[in-house]
């Protein structure tokens, strides 16, 4: 199975949602063996996003169960990083950040996003027990003396 955690499943909450969708998909696949029927379009779309790059034609009950098990495992074992931004990030920026982290740090990393307007810019990352403050406000407050010098210089 060539399935990897997709970038659109970023946080533990999204794993929960994906597991729910996969459960419904699994139900549908079981029923399908008894009786023909159409898969709900929205569920199909979401399931495609979860099971990508595996095409719908290759979806089997075993595959869905396997992915579900992988997701269950990731939910409890995957490293979690919390990123706080000064505003709501766009889906593109979220995907870019998650993609970079999974590519450069760990392929199964989960990211939880939040925002705080007072950061003014940049971001704050909490990984494990450490906090990395890359925010503008943090930089300003860390260098109070430099700021005071600059003000005096003016």
């Amino acid at each position: 199975m060539n399935w990897v955690l997709p970038d659109n499943i970023q946080s533990p909450e999204q794993i929960e949602a994906a597991l729910l969708d996969l459960s419904r998909l699994s139900d549908w696949l079981r029923r399908k063996t008894i009786k023909e029927g159409q898969l709900d379009e929205e569920l199909a779309t979401r399931a495609q996003a979860i099971l990508a790059p595996i095409e719908q034609s290759a979806w089997t009950l075993e595959l869905v169960d396997e992915v579900s098990k992988r997701l269950e495992s990731l939910k409890s074992t995957a490293p979690l990083v919390r990123i706080t931004l000064p505003g709501l990030p766009s889906p593109k920026l979220r995907a870019e950040l998650v993609g970079w982290l999974r590519r450069e740090i760990n392929p199964n990393i989960l990211v939880s996003f939040s925002f705080n307007r007072l950061l003014a810019g940049g971001m704050v990352i909490r990984a494990g027990s450490k906090i990395y403050d890359f925010s503008f406000s943090g930089a300003l407050l860390k260098q109070r003396s430099r700021l005071a010098e600059m003000i005096h210089g003016v």
């Binding site: 074992t77 490293p79 990083v81 931004l85 000064p86 505003g87 990030p89 766009s90 920026l93 870019e96 950040l97 970079w100 982290l101 450069e104 740090i105 760990n106 990393i109 307007r117 007072l118 950061l119 003014a120 810019g121 940049g122 971001m123 990352i125 990984a127 494990g128 027990s129 450490k130 990395y132 890359f134 503008f136 406000s137 300003l140 407050l141 109070r144 003396s145 700021l147 005071a148 003000i151």
Partner: protein, 234 residues
């Protein structure tokens, strides 16, 4: 009638008695007057005798007195003259003696006084000189001691002054630095909060994506290490 006769007889009898009594009294009185005259004469005689005696005695006494007075005057004059002579001699002798004794006593006293004065003068001169030297020495010592104490006090005051100046200067600088630091922090806070407030309202995350990824790249190793550490701990 008889009774009247009786009463009349009694009255007559009483009248006769009274008359007899009156006669007797007149006789007695007459005798008494005679006796009174005799007594008066005798008294007068006696008085005359007494007077005569008195006059005689008085005259005798006067004569005696005159005689005695004359003699006494003579004796007294002689005695006064003798006494005066004695007194004059005694007075002269006494004056002479007193003068002699007084002169001697005064001389002795003067000599003693002169000696005492000489002694006192000698002692005083010696003692005064010694005392003056001692006082001079004490004064010199006191002066030296006072000068040394004064110098010590001045040195202490100077030292204390320098110490206070140093301490006050240090405190002043410290307080100044504290106030300046507080001011800088407040100023930095105010400006920082202002910038954050202004920037926070104009967030463009798209424009910041380069900065975000640059920060991630700069801290990639730390992030990876922390994640690996977390996974290892799990």
């Amino acid at each position: 009638m008889n009774q009247y006769l009786m009463i009349l007889a009694i009255i007559v009898a009483l009248a006769l008695i009274n008359l007899g009594t009156l006669v007797w009294v007149a006789l007695l009185r007459r005798k008494n007057i005679h006796l009174t005259k005799v007594i008066a004469n005798e008294k007068h005689l006696a008085a005359t005798e007494e007077e005569a005696e008195r006059v005689i005695v008085a005259q005798s006494l006067q004569l005696v007195e005159q005689s005695v007075t004359a003699k006494l005057t003579v004796v007294l004059d002689e005695m006064v003259a003798a006494l005066q002579r004695d007194l004059t001699n005694a007075s002269k002798n006494l004056t002479q003696h007193v003068s002699q004794v007084g002169t001697q006593a005064i001389d002795a006293k003067l000599q003693a006084l002169e000696k005492a004065l000489s002694d006192i003068e000698a002692n005083t001169t010696n003692n005064l000189g010694a005392k003056l030297l001692e006082a001079d020495k004490t004064l010199s010592q006191l002066e030296v001691s006072a000068t040394a104490s004064l110098q010590q006090i001045q040195a202490l005051i100077e030292k204390k002054k320098q110490s206070l100046e140093t301490a006050m200067g240090a405190d002043l600088n410290q307080e100044k630095a504290r106030i300046m630091k507080q001011f800088d922090e407040r100023l930095a806070d105010v400006v920082g909060n202002y910038l954050i407030e202004v920037l926070g309202q104009q967030v463009d995350l798209g424009a910041q994506s380069k900065f975000l990824f640059a920060q991630l790249e700069a801290h990639k190793a730390e992030l990876k290490q922390e994640i690996d550490h977390e996974l290892g701990a799990a």
